[in-house]
Subunit: 162 residues, 2 copies
Amino acid sequence: MNVINELGVLAIATRLQRLAEQIRKDGLLIYKAHGLDFEPKWFPVIYTLHVKPVLSVVELSAEIGYSHPSTITLLKELETQKLIKSGKDKTDERKRLVQLTEKGQALITQMKPVWQVMIAASTQLTDTQNNLMKAMEEVEQQMELQSFYQRAKVIMAAKALS
Amino acid sequence: MNVINELGVLAIATRLQRLAEQIRKDGLLIYKAHGLDFEPKWFPVIYTLHVKPVLSVVELSAEIGYSHPSTITLLKELETQKLIKSGKDKTDERKRLVQLTEKGQALITQMKPVWQVMIAASTQLTDTQNNLMKAMEEVEQQMELQSFYQRAKVIMAAKALS
DNA sequence: CAAATATATGTAGTTGACTACATATATTTG
DNA sequence: CAAATATATGTAGTCAACTACATATATTTG
């Protein structure tokens, strides 16, 4: 077994990160080609608020699967873009309720056809023999079953016996 | 077609990044469990210098597939750990030649059995129905054939005709 | 009902990669 | 052979996520 395989596994994230960077850059270009001023990283927030119009920061974070500080950063950017607005929840003063502005809603209407194109293009990219999305999900499942560390421990124990 | 698919594609990198973070953390623990003071991110540099004992910074960057500034950062860390050493190339004063120290070589000997365990564990994790490594390679190939942006353009053009 | 605990938000600093730019040396070419 | 170009290295700053910690408000419990 070639030790470089281990490199391969540890390097997956780096490679995917690069791929993702490229996809984000192209995403930005695609929006621009349609005359739209929108960054791909804003999509999860905007789309979620489109589907669930009023959410607190933590609810939104949970929906998009990000940490709440990451979400707060995105919300700041979107607020300066005037695409979202927010205010205190009157029944629970801890909560800040976030929602789209009219400008945000109008932008979504313009973006919808672009999203369709993006979906078609990204499906072309990822729907190969080993589907990347499915592979991801499978590995996440494996990790949940047993972590990398736990697996290593079991393998070590087995080796010690033989 | 559900628009959230697009989120899925753009979110791949984030998810993979998290997975990679977890794997790195566990990797650190596995080294520690063996009494070794080594960070997973150092592996590409150390292993490459093990196979190709003397390399310049740019040669090394190319081997591990990182940008040269990223490589320089790793080399700095490894130099403070006294795992590598470096000096000017006498025939080409621009080049800095990098190599393992004795300490570095001794550490590799200690790490080799640990790498075997890591390879076995990570193979368990990623060798599922849709193999993650292969999926990655396939998507990289697709991107080389035609970028996300180009694909979107073609799809848009086709739409305009219909 | 006061104290302890839980929840919501926010700030600061970290991580591991990157790009853009600056500088030093080597090589090529008019 | 001097000027232009190419290569090698290094520095500074960016990016998109994170964790750890701090604070404010709400809820639960002895």
